[in-house]
Amino acid sequence: MPPANPRTLDAPALRADLTRNLADVVAVPPTAVEPILCALVAGGHVLLEGIPGIGKTLLARTIAQSIAGEFRRIQFTNDVMPGDVTGSAVWRPDLGRFALVRGPLFANVVLADEINRTSPRTLSCLLEAMESGQVSIEGRTLELGRPFLVLATRNPVEFHGTFPVPEAALDRFLVRVELAYPEAVFELALYGGRDCEARLREVRPVVDCEQLVALRAQVDEVAVRPAIAEYVYRVVQATRVHPDVQLGASPRAALAWLRAAKGRATFDGRDYVLPDDLKALALPALAHRVFRRDGAAAAPLLAEILQATEVPL
């Protein structure tokens, strides 16, 4: 039973509200929205992939506005320095001392745009902040926003001026969501409606930050029974021994997968994980953590494994 907390939220209703808000503003298919919401409630970060101009920024802003949180955006280029992200101490002649200038990371929802265009140094700084939820500037440790959600975007690799993002960096993102061109219905609605900015202004917050943090505690309480653990193990093990796989899913990947599944279970109003949660989130949570020998996308292979792996009864 979830703790008898007066702040306990009606998670299914919250999901409906959030989904409606997002659908009002951007044309993102529901299958892509679900992993993002799971990451939001499970305290993870999202890697968005897709061609420019399909509303990634708008998506992030809508989320920020829906949770009544602060939104910042960092456009990464190859000359962005770590200090530009976290902030730095600046000499204030008027005060006669160094003053801390907080970087764009100090927000609730951060859109890190084109992270594969920045130098590894800056990227690792961002990843560290994502991992620990805090940054150190001039020896002072500062907490980042609570909740803290990073939506990072990445350009397809073949684009010019990009660095490959190392495997370890990809592992920091709870889910990876691939955004394709929206379906015709959504896109038509987009063109036919009013201006995006106008619609964004009309988005009402459906939850506040504190409530969201409380909801995360609820996610921690979700039960994972042995049968579920066995299923996770079977799938993960299958990725490790598959002959086409160069690097299988790590235990951390499995834990991340479970965490995302817990988020989905919470949104479903359950306090236990179902194999269905795992199956629904397997591709977003695992595909960027499994590497094939031929360098092709791991998603089809994962789908194959999921279809072949027996679900423990």
Partner: protein, 657 residues
Amino acid sequence: MRDRLLPFLLVLTLLDLAFVQATEVVATAELLPLWGLTVAAPWLRRLQRWLWCRIAWNGGVLVVFALLVRHATTSGLLHMLEDGLVLAVLCQVHLLNNIGARQRPDLVFFNSLLVAFVTSFFAPDLSWSVLFGLHAFALVAALQVNVLVRRGDAVDGAAVRGAVHHAVGQATAALVLTGALFVLLPRDFTRQGWLGDALGDPGTAEAGLAERIHLDDARPVQLGEQVVVRIRAADGGEVPSHWRAIAFATFDGATWFPQEAGPLGSRFATDPPWDRQPDGSWRRTARGEPGGHATAERRFRVRLHDVRAGRLPLPLPATAVHPRAAAGVMLDTRSFGGFVMLTTEDAATNAFEYDVDVAGAPRAVAVTGRTRERFTALPERGVPPTAHALAQQLRAALPADADVPAIAAAASDWLQQNRRYGLPGEPGFARNLGEFLLGTGAGHCEYFATALAILLRLQAVPCRVVGGWLAHESDATDGGVVVRSRDAHAWVEALAEDGRWLVLDATPAADVTARRGGAASWWDASWRGLEDLWSEVVGFDGRRRADWLQTLLALPGSLAQQAWANAPVLAATLALVGLLAYRRRRRQHEPAIVEYERAVRAAGLSLLEGETPRELLRRADAGAIEAARLQRLHRAVQNHERQRYGRPASAGDGGTT
């Protein structure tokens, strides 16, 4: 690593030695060194490291082997088997001392099985069966450990313990299955082999009723435990001790012949004759006693376990015999006042039951001169000279006008007090009647009876030797008396002047009962029960098999008949069995899973690989499935989800691995 196997092989070898010891065909002194070598094997085998030790050991084994072979070839067939047994256990000990170094344990297993086989011919008694039960467990455990130790280092103590635990179940299953097959498999129980009885048992004679008494038969006697007769007094009182089945009138110096044998044998009417009544029963009155049928004073119910015994045991003063329904069994009277049983091949049952009425005293018969002559006849040769002297001595001690009862009692008492009781094969047993009468050798009941008969006939007292059963062991189960094959007995009946037969038993009663044991403690009683069961196995035949099958087939019916009486017991047993089965099944399969799978099958679906229950439910919803079944599937999925994936009822623990 073979060291882990050694204790099991040691136990097997010890059991083999016990098998041989139990047959009693090999002297203890011969086996003692082998016992010692076996127990010392764990230390002795370390000596095998040195060449000279190996040479000494193998040389010793060869020498003993040669001696045994020489002994076997120079003595008879009987000794050859004994020597073979010693040889087998010697091999066992030799192998045990060489396991690991140069020998594999396979031979030990096979050899120990062979020892069990061969000893079953020599002494198929209860101790053999107990040994075999132990042997089965030891053999199975040794085989299983042998499989494990073959693998070398992977074996640890826990694995061996697990294997032994497993072996207990396997051995029990093997024994139970063997028992079931033994009862159920149809086979020819009277099959004669190509070799005939060459390997049969020539060594011992079974105690029992014989159609002749051979005094020169010196074979050791087996005191069988097989139940022959059960007797119960209708009034619950005492049961007469001597139940006669055959009478011997003629003695040729070594053998007694039945009264009815020989020319005109059956014409001598020495006992009141039996008359067959219209109701199938048999009655008799004393000759010379007018007044019709004797009145029954007491009634006994007798159950004869094997109709092939051929003779009906009756007390001397029996006046009526009421056979109970027994198809295929016919009775025929004999002149000594008893019956023979004739059975047809298709006799429905193995056992025969009858009631006996007994009057207080034996009836008299008219004694003719020819009768007197016949029952005082002695052979020209074969009566030991000692007997004449002894008879004169006994007669002289009595007054000149002493009557038959007095003379008979004096001779009987003298023998009882002055001669020793013993069984053939035992040390000190008389080699012939002369030795027994002289007092230098002990004798058994046939010797006592023969001696008494000769002493009485020498004093011109007509008498005969009677064979039958001594009823002395009270039966704990029904308060009656149980008679076993070892209770076969011989005694004397003397003819008094007034035509009555007197029962005279010169055998010291205390010795007989001590030797032949009366039930004393619960331990004896249960041992006796086991012996009964084992005798059932050893003597198993077509009739017994039919009886068993009949009992088994009738079991449901009889249970149903007694269902009301046994209802609580039956219900409790069923509940227990059900509970055990449920727990076992539950341990293997959660009920939620079982119900889920059933519901899926009922809905006509099959589980796809990689499909979750909810996905299956969606598939079911999409298909055209009967509403009730779909509903059941929904319920099953919900229940399964709650049981297997949901938070456990005892809140707090959501942990996983």
